[in-house]
Assembly symmetry: C2
Homo-oligomer: 340 residues x 2
């Protein structure tokens, strides 16, 4: 298996990327990497890889795409950037299976959607991040921003993609799939939601459990939430933002009084655990599902361990034949539609 | 000023409603109420109102609409319910100015939107709850669920309605208005968002500060967030859900170890303050803006003080001529459009 690694754009790039790759190479004998970034920096970082260095190729592309770059401009104008070069390599090299990047999300999703071929029959790929739930589980949000305009058929495809992903990578046997809506009753929401509800209810390949109100996202009652990319984006970013702002406020309030500082000191290990719990890089990267080759976005602040987790996801997706399972469903669905 | 009070449907109804009304009557000599609910229960509750009881009228309508009732069915079938009777009174009585209810949100918003006349020129009323921000301020979300399908012109109207509301009730001079979007750049989102962005930028009556990503909702950088009712609903419920689930988890973790319980005991008053901070009933009710007569939805768990706050909002809205200011803008806008 060959993975293309975009080694720029993350807060700890390229070190975290290289260390994560080397750690994975030591675990998987059949793995190889193409590291994309600044050649001199990468050569230096790779110098102590020792025994696994013969499975590392370095590709020079020193430009960086940041969150300030407009995605469409970045794709068009920053051809020498590590991200766009990495996407090109993934597309052109037949032996390349997946891409891992900790760079700008918008540009990565846009470039991958445009440049990497889709699984035959998939209308549009979906971007699926994972959030921790309060019972210690996980929930995938499909889609969280790759496509703002969707149809009911696309939402049905997202449900299947999310199901196969949670099955493959998180070992959930019958992932509970919910449709994001403004209420739980079947008739809630707009025409799109009602049409999607009907399609999902009729689909035997999906364990559809009904509509979900966004306040229940973290309860642990759902494994996959299906939604258009606009409201999915709002769902994920509001969750992250609220958690972050609350923890910041708590910290500020603790520092406002010596007595609170004492109380917090007694609970220090508990607060550290809460912080780790809310740190979503501990749950792996966000996957673009529906492309022929897997694209994984690690968090911008990913360390070597987080990068390694993204690599493991890519390996599991290939080993678990996620795309083949999605393809099999699409063939079945096509037959169903043509039989109607 | 006469206020119609729906005295059923809240967790503490009718007591909290009656006590809230009586407290307001003692403060405002020109205020009167029509209390709608079960006549026997209301008569008993009003019996110790003493000097202000001559400004209380009781209207018998003992049925209750709950969150389990489908709004459209509730409107059609539960005509004897306190909520539908209260809406009817608000519409039919010329001297009635406003309605306060702590009942089911969906049914209230649907019934009021259908039955209460709109301000001339307003396309659709918007439902606007208030959330506390981390700097001790407030932010209004307009719309959070009255209309899932909107146009750019409606979003512009929401901006004006939200502006006048935050000015009138929260005393903000130049409320900072943001458009909810998937990124901050002007070209982000779908056609609807780009069109709304252009309209908002060109509107001198609104202090438009650009797109807002949902993760920044609680930072205190915005006073009004304009959005379609679907994503607004997701925005508000995700914020509430995340805060609630996090506080629940924190509590569970504290109870898991004696040492944590000790630490929390030392910080008891701080945690109580955090809880009160996140309790949105302390910030008043959610207002349906754009109807000729004001409809205010108190939180289901409202106590007498929270009900009194909703009443104060209704009084402030009338005294501050909120609807007249919205009307004046609409006239100006109509002229602008006809001049193009």
């Amino acid at each position: 298996m060959k993975i293309i690694m975009d080694c720029l754009g993350g807060d700890r790039s390229p070190d975290a990327n290289v260390k994560g790759a080397v750690a994975s190479l030591r675990k998987h004998a059949d793995l190889s990497f193409a590291l994309v970034g600044d050649e001199a920096a990468l050569s230096a970082a790779v110098s102590d890889a020792g025994d696994v260095s013969d499975r590392i190729e370095i590709v020079h592309a020193p430009g960086v795409i940041t969150g300030d770059d407009k995605p469409t401009d970045a794709i068009r104008l920053k051809k020498d950037s590590s991200m766009i070069a990495a996407i090109r390599l993934l597309r052109e090299r037949e032996d390349a299976d997946a891409l891992v990047s900790c760079g700008a999300t918008g540009a990565l999703v846009a470039a991958a959607t445009l440049r990497i071929g889709r699984i035959r029959g998939i209308r549009r790929p979906a971007f699926c991040p994972i959030l921790p739930t309060m019972d210690g589980g996980t929930v995938g949000i499909c889609d969280s921003g790759a496509n703002t305009d969707v149809t009911a058929e696309m939402l049905l495809q997202y449900a299947v993609m999310g199901t196969e992903y949670m099955r493959c990578v998180f070992g959930k046997k019958e992932p509970r799939v919910a449709l994001l809506n403004v209420g739980t009753e079947a008739e809630k929401g707009d025409d799109l939601r009602r049409e999607a509800y009907a399609l999902l209810s009729a689909e035997s390949g999906v364990n559809f459990v009904g509509n979900m109100e966004s306040r229940d996202l973290l309860t642990g009652k759902y494994d996959v939430v299906v939604c258009d990319g606009f409201s999915g984006n709002v769902l994920v970013k509001t969750t992250e933002g609220t958690a972050l702002e609350l923890l910041k406020k708590l910290k500020r309030d603790i520092y406002s009084k010596t007595r609170y500082k004492l109380g917090a000191f007694i609970m220090k290990d508990m607060f550290a655990k809460e912080k780790a719990f809310m740190n979503y890089q501990n749950y792996g990267g966000s996957v673009l599902i529906g492309t022929e080759k897997t694209v994984i976005k690690g968090h911008g602040s990913s360390d070597a361990a987080a990068v390694e987790k993204c690599i493991e996801q890519a390996i599991t997706i290939k080993a678990g034949a996620m795309n083949e399972n999605i393809s099999a469903w699409l063939t079945k669905r096509e037959e169903e539609i043509s039989n109607v």
